[in-house]
Symmetry: C2
């Protein structure tokens, strides 16, 4: 493990300048400070300093996910994380990121500079700089619904296989045979899992999979209008959606086309956001317990900080049956 002396030697500067850089003292240039921090990260000094800090500090970095309002997906996740953190005497900073911040500074440097010993990353895409840097990070990091092979990185999520299976079984019990899947964006691990889960479940209940009844949209309501027509013309009597937002778009599009839910077509969502109860008809959906996701993310982060290399932690989903599903029409 590198010492302050090693860093000073490598940069050809004094030990006191390194110390000032690491501690954020005001009398050295910002440029020098950045160089000291980057070198400290490179030489593996990071964790040592973090260990010395008395109060443990972690952060939630949020990119591209709404979380400020209780109706939004991220809200309860952040609440759950903070609940667990408070009980374990750990301070949490919630930091919305932006392109400027992500490109200006490396992830590990950001963490070291701010004295964070771990982070929960929410809403990042695979091509984001911080996500790509995770292959080599030494910082304990938890992702939502995304896998990284690095031993310091784990992920939390909801068991989508179990969830999709419950939805398909529910529709099967109602006599549906032609079941469509409107999935989320491509290039997402969750989207891929839900597709495989759909194929597996259809097989389990001996239902035929029609490629015309499987499509990728995006995780927004708007994507429904591109696919619902095709599903209908291929005889779908039920549409399984990869999120509640997609399902809300599907219900609207069905209404626009004069198709009744659930009399003509049943619809299921995924997430159980508050809107699921307010849609008309109310939405049958697969519940992700978001408070529990947040709590689990924190306990996982704590274990990763302590050197327990958790790969993944999946919660049990729950099927919430409401009014958007019903018997298959004759």
């Amino acid at each position: 493990m590198a010492t302050i002396k090693d860093i000073a030697k490598k940069l050809g500067i004094s030990i006191s300048t390194v110390s000032k850089g690491l501690n954020g003292a005001g009398d050295i240039s910002e440029e020098m400070r950045q160089m000291v921090l980057d070198t400290a990260v490179e030489m593996g000094y990071a964790s040592k300093r973090i260990q010395k800090l008395g109060k443990r500090k972690v952060c939630i970095l949020i990119e591209n996910m709404e979380y400020e309002n209780i109706d939004q997906f991220g809200y309860e996740i952040v609440v759950g994380f903070k609940l667990s953190a408070v009980r374990r005497h750990c301070e949490v900073s919630v930091i919305p990121t932006n392109l400027n911040m992500l490109t200006q500074e490396k992830y590990d440097t950001f963490m070291l500079k701010n004295g964070f010993c771990g982070a929960f990353l929410l809403g990042f895409a695979l091509h984001d700089d911080y996500i790509r840097q995770l292959d080599k990070t030494n910082v304990a990091t938890v992702l939502l619904d995304n896998y990284n092979p690095n031993r310091h990185v784990g992920y939390v999520g909801t068991d989508g296989y179990n969830g999709i299976d419950m939805a398909i079984k529910h529709l099967y019990d109602y006599g549906h045979k032609k079941i469509a899947l409107l999935n989320g964006s491509k290039n997402s691990m969750v989207t891929n899992d839900r597709r495989l889960a759909f194929l597996q479940a259809m097989d389990r209940y001996s239902l035929k999979v029609d490629p015309n009844l499987i499509a990728n949209g995006y995780y927004v309501a708007d994507c429904a209008k591109d696919h619902v027509g095709t599903f209908l013309s291929n005889g779908a009597t039920a549409i399984v959606c990869a999120s509640d937002l997609i399902a809300s778009g599907v219900i609207n599009e069905l209404k626009r086309l004069g198709v009744q839910v659930p009399k003509d077509v049943s619809v299921t969502g995924f997430d159980d956001l508050p809107i699921a109860r307010h849609l008309s008809p109310t939405l049958t959906t697969i519940r992700q317990d978001r408070v529990a996701l947040g709590k689990s993310a924190f306990i996982m982060l704590e274990e990763l900080i302590g050197g327990v290399s958790i790969s993944k932690l999946l919660l049990k989903p729950e099927l919430i049956i409401r009014d958007s599903t019903g018997p298959c029409p004759e």
Copy 2:
């Protein structure tokens, strides 16, 4: 939630008799006590009483797994569990079970009677009474390597997909093409996972799967002699084993047949038990961090007790390269 009054009413006895039964007072018959406890469990009274107990108590129930010696699979798991429990001020009882105990008393009744608010079950088979009762339990329960759909039951394990993939990649890099799998006992979730992981990994590296090179043994050394001959006559140059004990049997059988490891045939294990370092040649294997498994089991149990419905928690395995693997012979 049922009250003491409800239990008294149901059994047609006085409230004070119910109270004596629940608290283990000496002046009622053992038969009456058992009836009170069984009724309390049936009526969902259990968790309420447990909540009232000041100090939290959990147990590890061990069936058919050796744990008393550091060389044995269960030892470090128990150590890891206790380490986490102590840090969280929770008392742990380690209880080896026996057929008598398992048949005499229901799982939930046993837990209530002894004031345990959760249990970690080690080494049980799917047909054991306690495992079958888990479908309906209200007691927070963690299993090693076994799934149950009940929301109060979760499982910890090591990511076998990742592990087997690393072993196959390692052999592939050494030029092996005819790779055999000597798996564990049938009817085990882990055995099934390892078979699927093997098929997936072979496919990933474009290696042909030969059904003659896949066999189920048992998780003991002795099973090797039934399969190694068949593997050799079908041209295997590498044998991936589902445990270190199986691998030790395979190495002995190869020696007996005059085949050199790794010059003629490479062998890999799974677990990284202490014996892996003492075999000759030392064993290349997929490490399960058993202390971390125990620690994870405890934090999972704690979350289940708190109502967070964790389905599974998987650790990252590690490939430990030693002397039992080498380049594929010409």
